[in-house]
């Protein structure tokens, strides 16, 4: 906390901390990796919705999936896998990026292989009238699927890399500063001192 001793400024400082902006600014200043544990779910959800729309309204679904891909792209550039300012990753960062991309590619491979088998089996059943299934036919369907797989690769990679960063050190600013008291300990300390 920056303003110690002034109750009003301390309270305002605490409110500012709740917004998360100072924390983000500190991490950016320290060149630390920023984990994005939830944000990648948004473009992923958008891509799933877009694919669903494409199956029912072929005119616009692929645009939604493409929008999801465009919104997912910055995650790889700003999140836990962003290149450090010096441009050279250390061994831990390289391992993080490698594991993230491998997980993303694994998810894409699983989806592609599983999807091929599923569409093949359901397509065969549909031909004999036992099932109703959407199968990609036109170019827009394939473009939508292509963008969908790109979104899956990017978001899964960022999610896995983010979850690999331990939570405890996400805000690693105690390096040259004294440890900050927790709010409970702070209250206890103040109570003890005042009482």
């Amino acid at each position: 906390m920056t303003y110690r001793g002034n109750p009003l400024l301390e309270k305002l400082d605490r409110i500012a901390e709740y917004t998360g902006v100072p924390k983000l600014a500190r991490r950016t200043a320290q060149d630390a990796a920023i984990p994005l544990r939830v944000m990648p779910l948004l473009p992923l959800t958008l891509a799933i919705v877009g694919l669903f729309v494409q199956a029912h309204a072929p005119a616009g679904g692929w645009i939604v999936v493409m929008g999801a891909w465009i919104s997912a792209m910055p995650l790889g550039l700003t999140g836990p896998m962003r290149p450090p300012p010096g441009g050279v990753r250390d061994e831990r960062e390289r391992a993080l990026v490698r594991t993230g991309h491998l997980a993303g590619l694994g998810a894409v491979a699983l989806l592609a292989i599983g999807g091929c088998f599923l569409m093949g089996i359901l397509g065969a059943l549909a031909m004999v009238g036992y099932a109703r299934v959407w199968l990609p036919q036109g170019p827009q369907d394939w473009i939508a699927i292509g963008f969908f797989l790109l979104v899956v690769q990017t978001t899964v990679a960022v999610l896995v890399a983010s979850w690999m960063i331990p939570r405890g050190l996400a805000d690693a600013d105690e390096d040259d500063q004294p440890a900050r008291l927790t709010r409970r300990a702070d209250r206890r300390f103040r109570g003890g001192r005042e009482g």
Binding site: A32, D90, E91, R92, P166, G168, L169, D175
Partner: protein
């Protein structure tokens, strides 16, 4: 399952009066990586372990171990009792 590796990087870093950033610059990693190492959240490569040991002028065995290191207070107490 990989075996837990304990280290006392923070102890030697404090003794040397180095900040995480200074140590990170000395061994060529990100300061965040030093933090993860100190907390045992990351197991370094042999190269990094040797670089760290070299920076402190000690052997790798004194810096890393499969068994937890004794607390400094216990070591000092035992040393005091021995003398």
């Amino acid at each position: 399952m990989a075996k837990q590796i304990y280290n006392r990087i923070s102890l030697f870093r404090a003794e040397a009066g180095l900040s995480r950033k200074a140590l990170a610059d000395a061994v060529g990693v990100n300061p965040q990586t030093i933090g993860f190492l100190e907390r045992g959240d990351y197991t370094p490569s042999l190269e990094l372990a040797m670089k760290l040991a070299e920076r402190f002028g000690i052997s790798v065995e004194l810096l890393f171990s499969f068994r937890p290191f004794p607390a400094m207070a216990d070591v000092l107490r035992q040393a005091g009792e021995a003398t």
